[in-house]
């Protein structure tokens, strides 16, 4: 096991292979939650490392709605504000 993998943060999982021998699988820690751009609250979304995100299709990397970097509540407030700017109610 090389030096970098000996840290406690990396999980070691012992697996039995079809060839009936034991191997160790290493699992790196998950990154933090995403946070909303306006209110700064936690956005409940998949916590994936950059290497895992890169493997996902583009559509699954972020929500399909406009302003994906905001939480749904802030997004609605922003769109309502934009509507009020454009349309006189």
């Amino acid at each position: 096991m090389r030096r970098a993998l000996r840290s406690t943060k990396i999980k070691k999982i012992v697996k039995r292979t079809p060839g009936n021998r034991l191997t160790i699988h290493f699992r790196k820690p998950k990154p933090n939650y995403a946070h909303c751009g306006i209110c700064g609250k936690k956005i409940v979304r998949a916590r994936l490392r950059a290497s895992e995100i890169r493997k996902l299709p583009k559509v699954q990397r972020r929500p399909e709605r406009p302003f994906p970097e905001l939480c749904p509540k802030c997004m609605r407030e922003k769109i309502k504000a934009m509507i009020r700017a454009v349309v006189k109610i």
Partner: protein
């Protein structure tokens, strides 16, 4: 007499079609209506996800609603 009667022009606030114009076709109950728009699929939508506008348009048979909205309002307020 809720403001979400058939013909009411609205803007969707939530979902991937947020910021797009749509018109109420039918009212299901006090929470749900059927909406359609040039960039909005004909769908059942919660009125909480809609922002009503003062304008209304008539809904007649054989009248292309999407074309009317496209000419009068455009697709939406967001690109």
């Amino acid at each position: 007499m809720s403001i979400f009667e058939p013909g009411r022009v609205c803007i969707k606030i939530a979902g991937r079609e947020a910021g797009k114009y749509c018109v109420v076709l039918e009212v299901i109950d006090e929470n749900f209506v059927i909406v359609q728009g040039p960039k909005v699929r004909k769908r059942r939508c919660n009125i909480a996800h809609l922002q009503a506008l003062p304008e209304k348009i008539e809904i007649k048979e054989g009248v292309d609603i999407n074309k009317i909205i496209l000419e009068k309002f455009g697709e939406g307020i967001i690109k």
